[in-house]
Symmetry: C2
Subunit: 114 residues, 2 copies
Amino acid sequence: MVIDSKQLDLVFGALSDATRRGILAQLADGESNVSELAAPYQMSQPAISKHLRVLEGAGLIERAKTGRETRVRVKPDTARQAAGWITHYARFWQQHFDAVDQILQQKRKLQDED
Amino acid sequence: MVIDSKQLDLVFGALSDATRRGILAQLADGESNVSELAAPYQMSQPAISKHLRVLEGAGLIERAKTGRETRVRVKPDTARQAAGWITHYARFWQQHFDAVDQILQQKRKLQDED
DNA sequence: CATTAACATAACCATATGGTTATTGATTCG
DNA sequence: CGAATCAATAACCATATGGTTATGTTAATG
């Protein structure tokens, strides 16, 4: 599966909320159910369900009903791939931003010499 | 400057749009002005201005008027720090997702042995 | 000086987001 | 069986997002 621009929108969008990042962090320790995931937050259960839908839509988690509870777990494949893509992206930026930084410093140096 | 959760919201939110990611990519090659940044996109100039405001709000770029044009450039400090943070975050996930993956595979193996 | 160019801002619109309460549908448990 | 539990869904609300057109402001230009 290749991460395209649309999915990148969804992944970054999913990560733009602290609650969802927290849920992902919880799931990094292993799978869980909705009640456990909701426990740390002082918001309603439907609100958590919505966040889970967003994470699911981004391909970062999957849900599976077992009895009356819903087991939630990270989708390691897509999640790892998203992480890899983001790392790659961030590294690209770092290099270019370093370059921009050097150019700015060079300019400053030239101005000082005036 | 430390990146807190609120700013992380803004950074990820800023990156959740393809146009803004494209603008950042353009700026990675050096500073630019609004017209140049708008050129690749078939949307109005005010739309681009809005995107720039979002990027600015996330601390990823800065704008400076020089004459009648607005020079736009990456803020290397915060941008690099955000990139570093995201990389760190992604690496943390990768490790944990790898762990989750191994647990899943281990479970599968045990089931096969039944 | 009149016009054009670059950009921002305002006002508006449709849709998305993030939350709520109320309700429903299964399951589990006493 | 009846009650409690887990979670989804629906309906609603306020605000944010992403776009538009229209207008204004400042600077460059003929």
